[in-house]
């Protein structure tokens, strides 16, 4: 227990901040994922074959390739890409991008592929009559989407989005390879300096269990809220 003391003698505060970092990365990644889903879901549902192909290759590639490989691509390729753009503007110095942004972005792209599939499934399972009814009521495009389609989509999507959240939360452990100090990285450092890996990795496991447990509780409440009237 001494090992977990807060302050300079123990690793308690370090692990606490690392947990906050994990939550921050997971939430940022989830929102980046929503952003990607917002772009790719309409492409998936579009009647245009070419747009379909773009969206399908995004979800297929991301869901068929290991997360770690995607992270390595952005970790090694991210700063190179930015440096290339900078060199066009005559800036030749080495640029290092923030580990947080690299991590959140690569996990976000992965999470986005899963979210896209979830939203596609939810929109497709909305009854055709709802679209027709909205047209009959004379709602414009925005009203139709925000007042009729979106609330129903959310209700159908929340249980599956909670799975995506769990995947995203667990995937954040992988960005420890880029050196960002989240739960996994902090445990690795602590295990190395105290030579007590069993204890610190068990702590990491408990922290992740706590996060998944608490988020399940929260999501269940959200689910009840969005199912009002059913």
């Amino acid at each position: 227990m001494e090992l977990l003391a807060f302050g300079d003698t123990g690793w308690g505060d370090e692990l606490f901040y690392a947990t906050l970092m994990t939550i921050a990365v997971a939430i940022t990644a989830m929102f980046i994922g929503f952003f990607f889903a917002l772009i790719f879901t309409p492409l998936k549902l579009s009647k245009n074959k070419f747009l379909n192909l773009i969206a399908n290759s995004y979800t297929t590639v991301i869901r068929g390739v290991p997360e770690l490989l995607v992270i390595y691509l952005f970790f090694f390729g991210g700063s190179a890409a930015i440096m290339f753009v900078a060199s066009i503007f005559g800036y030749g110095e080495y640029i290092e991008i923030n580990a947080f942004m690299t991590g959140a972005f690569s996990i976000g792209i992965i999470s986005g592929a899963y979210s896209t599939e979830v939203f596609r499934g939810a929109i497709q399972s909305i009854d055709k009559g709802q679209f027709e009814a909205a047209n009959v009521l004379g709602l414009n495009k925005f009203g139709k989407f925000f007042k009729i389609i979106l609330p129903q989509t959310l209700r159908l999507a929340i249980p599956n989005l909670s799975n995506v959240w769990q995947i995203t939360l667990k995937d954040t452990s992988l960005i420890s390879v880029t050196g960002l100090v989240e739960i996994m990285r902090q445990s690795y450092v602590a295990a190395g300096s105290t030579r007590d890996p069993l204890f610190f990795y068990s702590c990491a496991a408990v922290l992740y269990l706590l996060l998944t447990f608490l988020s399940m509780k929260l999501i269940n409440r959200l689910e009840v809220r969005y199912s009002r009237g059913y």
């Binding site: 068929g64 770690l68 490989l69 691509l73 690795y188 068990s202 990491a204 496991a205 998944t212």
Partner: protein
């Protein structure tokens, strides 16, 4: 685009892919047995066994695979007692540590898949067996298990693909699997995009093959 590098790294990555496949197949086979065992425990009426199986699956599904590998590879070696037993022969090898972690992880997911498959079997099938005077053991082996396997094929196919992606974590404990070799080539040549295309292509090809095998099995064993 450095096409020469792509062509040169292809054979290296392909031979690393065999290690990925080896890790995948061994852990899937062990995981299937673990999954079946825990699925049966979950359906048991004994509350202690039931809770134990639930705890197992909750623990392994609620924590990242990376934590599980690290606990087994770095953590277990710390227990002095383990070093004196024959288990140490297995646990000092990163290869076996990775397989143990993968098998326990996929076992947890498989147990959930099989459990829900067992629970969705129509009672009529079991009643039909009973009224034919078949013993409950035979009903289990000849009626419940085959139906459950058929029911769980689509979900299990997804689990195989997820596990294939999971084997990439073996590279974090020094195993040179497909991702491990890809990372090595990236960090020596600084050509992430090219290597990603080749390695990702191999992974996608494996996903494609697994997907089609499952689809074929689903068609073959459908009983509707």
């Amino acid at each position: 685009m450095d096409f020469e590098l792509m062509i040169n790294s292809f054979p290296k990555l392909l031979s690393a892919a065999t290690i990925t496949l080896k890790l995948l197949s061994v852990s899937l086979i062990i995981g299937l047995f673990i999954g079946l065992l825990f699925a049966i425990l979950r359906l048991n009426k004994n509350i202690f066994l039931n809770k134990f199986a639930y705890g197992y699956s909750y623990l392994f599904r609620g924590t990242p695979l990376l934590v599980q590998i690290f606990i087994i590879y770095f953590g277990l070696g710390q227990i002095e007692y383990l070093r004196t037993t024959f288990l140490w022969v297995i646990l000092k090898e990163p290869y076996w540590c990775a397989i143990i972690a993968f098998a326990l992880n996929t076992g947890a997911y498989t147990s959930e898949i099989l459990r829900s498959a067992f629970q969705t079997i129509k009672p009529g099938f079991i009643e039909a067996g009973k009224s034919l005077g078949i013993s409950s053991r035979i009903i289990f082996y000849k009626i419940q298990i085959p139906i459950a396997i058929r029911q769980s094929l689509p979900a299990y196919g997804n689990e195989i693909i997820l596990m294939m992606k999971g084997t990439s974590l073996a590279s974090t404990v020094t195993i040179m699997d497909l991702t491990g070799v890809a990372k090595y080539i990236i960090s020596t040549t600084f050509r992430p995009v090219e290597v990603f295309i080749v390695a990702g292509g191999i992974y996608l090809f494996m996903t494609f093959v697994i997907h089609n095998i499952i689809k074929y099995l689903e068609k073959k064993y459908s009983f509707t």
